[in-house]
Amino acid sequence: MEFDFAAEQPKFLMLMYGLIAFVAVVGGLLLLLDVVPAWFARRREAQLVAASVSGAPLPRRGKPQEGLFALFFLLPTLLLLAVGLVGPAIRTTLLSFMDAGSNNWVGLRNYGWMFSDPTILRVLTNTLIWVILVPLVATSFGLIYAVLVDKARLEAVAKSLIFLPMAISFVGASIIWKFVYAYRSEEQQQIGLLNQIVVSLGGEPKQWLLDSPLNTFLLIVIMVWIQAGFAMVVLSAAIKAIPADIVEAARLDGVSPWQMFWQITMPSIRPALIVVVVTLSIATLKVFDIVRTATNGNYDTSVIANEMYNQAFRYGQNGQGSALAVFLFVLVIPIVIYQIRNLRQQREG
């Protein structure tokens, strides 16, 4: 069938409507906020003039309507979040206390199930391994690489290579790695790179994704492979932003490269480091596609998000799926507390 451009026309029209809506909403909001306060300001000025003429006491200078401004700035975000995330989060929490079809209240039964079923306990342990290892390893690789290629020749190319996996979807990345881990029996030629390396070193080919807990680590490699690029880009930018005079001063003091790294580089990039670690931790808690594509949670590799999807959407167990989601909410609390402390420090500093 040949390509009919005219048939695509409504799509462009729709896209245009979308862009017009964008300009109208954002532009309108800014305009509104600009014009309305200006009008109030003029009125106030007039009042002041009138007051000074009549000799009456000056009207009490009202606190600037900061709160009102904030409300308008935040309005679109708050509305969308309420519909798209807050509502669903509340609904999920309620569902977690109900049965599979969401018809009757069952109290804490779903939570009891979660902490007594050995396969689910395994899922929780796996998630813990993921959330500890991924941010740590991905950030380390990103940082080391950022330091190593900084100011090197072909820096842009070198960075693009590491960033490349970020442009690939999680599903695509998992397929790529499944290919790396592929297994063929000894008599056959290997098609997986990892087994080919093992064979050429004189070993026996292995079915990598079958053996727990090795398989979980192999899946973590996929996530690290994707996310190291993110860490590298953010950290590299932070490193470049360290003021030259500090570096110069330290150099004149004769500090060693090692000291330089720990005493100058690390403290300077701390805010960026926090952003990276926090973002990666949350992304890892929610990891879903990788496990689903690579093993579907078989061989003891499942994680919370994958199990949640299976329970709620494939098995029709809304209650149990929701309970797992609520447990995710709980897991994020330490990160939230850490973030609160950071914010406090920032406000004080």
Partner: protein, 446 residues
């Protein structure tokens, strides 16, 4: 300033829109259902006039298969004026639930799991079929089939396509060269396996990896064996949880399947040891037959589409299938299979008309002619089935002696049938013993 700029944008947008509008006028592509009065349409007159109505269908059928679907009801659309909008998705089972819960259900869905169908009936989402559909369905499908979509005395959908799972694929050429004959009893099958094993090559190849559905080919094995050793009545009790999942009869069936699947002398031809079954994709599993590395592969009729290009699928070709032999002659000739049911979430007249049409013999023949399709529809004329394996399947399904049973994992609640059963089979292949696996699955069935 901002205001001026946005006015400018609007003006540009207007000009662009105008230009696009002009191009659109050049190519009028309005679809007309004009030939309602022509000769080939007389057969569709009974469906009445529903010109301009639209019926949405959601299924798991995609790609070429979906094109064939569209082709199969093309004439019906042209004559009745109903526009059938079909959408296929690989995420069908999970997404259907989301759409229904989200208040965005399709008019019709082709549901391949009676267990899933029951879930929607229990939730009050599905509509029972209309009288016309019911008459058509009862005339064209055996009660064996209709019982799977009959709940609380109401019929919730007629079957559509089907497949036969009780097949063993082999290479007629290889068999002829080596002087082997197609086994017709279980003992012959084992004897043949031993003969092949003694000749130095492993006889069986298998693979149960299938993305997020990994494990299902093994459940078919167990069901097929259980149907043969314990008989259809026990099988029915097992799928409805009338007997526990870990009943000794089930354990026997699993162990018997294990004499092939977990026998290092028999498997896994072309791939490695027993454990390689777990990571071999089911699509690739039978391919070693074409290279002479494997002799036997138990898989459904639809495996005909998985052979490498250029493989001739015929009784005298490169590959063909024989009936997975019975074990206990007293249990008749059991056939395990699957298929999808046309269930309705809406009962508008045009939806019922489409539902009735899909249950008819005319539709079955129209679809079968296009190829690669099997149905249990009694009006399906064998002459309209081009592909030899499909022919064999239709023969089996229409055979009076056949005792048909639906794939058990599709009948069970999804948490078991598409959850712990699949996962249990993966663990079983991966070395876990029969009792532990069965107890685990039984424990998950609440």
């Amino acid at each position: 300033m901002a205001f001026a700029r946005s006015r400018q944008t609007l003006a540009i947008a207007g000009v662009l829109g105008l230009a696009l509008g002009v191009t659109a006028c050049g190519t009028g592509n309005d679809k007309k259902s004009g030939n309602a009065g022509s000769a080939e349409c007389t057969a569709y007159e009974k469906y009445g006039d529903n010109d301009g109505k639209k019926v949405t269908i959601y299924s798991s059928i995609r790609d070429i298969e979906a094109d064939r679907l569209n082709e199969s009801w093309k004439q019906f659309e042209d004559c009745t004026g109903i526009d059938i909008d079909h959408e296929g998705s690989g995420e069908f089972e999970a997404q259907l639930g989301v759409r229904v819960d989200g208040g965005n259900a399709p008019d019709l869905a082709f549901i391949p799991q009676p267990g899933l169908l029951k879930r929607f009936v229990d939730a009050g989402k599905l509509k029972p079929v209309g009288a016309a559909t019911k008459t058509e369905a009862e005339a064209n499908y055996s009660p064996d089939w209709l019982k799977y979509s009959t709940l609380n005395g109401q019929l919730y959908g007629a079957p559509l396509g089907s497949n036969v799972k009780s097949f063993v694929w082999y290479s007629p050429k290889m068999f002829k060269d080596k002087g082997w004959t197609v086994p017709t009893t279980w003992d012959e099958l084992i004897k043949l396996s031993d003969t092949i094993a003694a000749s130095g090559t492993k006889p069986w190849c298998a693979g149960i990896e299938s993305g997020d559905a990994t494990g299902w080919p093994a459940t078919d094995w167990i069901e097929d064996v259980l149907l043969r050793t314990a008989g259809p009545e026990v099988y029915d009790q097992w799928t409805t949880h009338g007997i526990p999942f870990n009943d000794p009869k089930v354990a026997d069936a699993l162990n018997r399947a294990g004499t092939i699947l977990k026998n290092d002398k028999y498997v896994n031809a072309g791939f490695g040891g027993v454990k390689s079954i777990a990571t071999t994709s089911f699509q690739e599993a039978g391919v070693p037959i074409t290279t002479g590395k494997c002799a036997l592969h138990r898989q459904a009729s639809f495996y005909a589409n998985q052979w490498p290009q250029g493989t001739k699928v015929a009784e005298d070709g490169d590959v063909f299938a024989f009936y997975f032999p019975a074990i206990d002659p007293a249990q008749g000739k059991p056939v395990l299979g699957g298929g999808e049911f046309v269930a309705a979430f809406n009962d508008r007249p045009e939806v019922q008309v489409v539902q009735t049409y899909l249950a008819s013999g005319e539709y079955a023949n129209s679809r079968a002619k296009i190829g690669d399709w099997v149905s249990a529809n009694k009006k399906l004329d064998l002459a309209n089935v081009p592909n030899p394996v499909d022919k064999l399947s239709v023969q089996l399904l229409q055979d009076e002696k056949t005792v048909f049973r639906f794939d058990g994992s599709d009948l069970m609640p999804a948490a078991v049938g598409a959850g712990t059963f699949w996962k249990g089979m993966v663990e079983w292949i991966n070395g876990k013993d029969t009792a532990a696996v069965l107890n685990g699955i039984e424990g998950s069935w609440k």
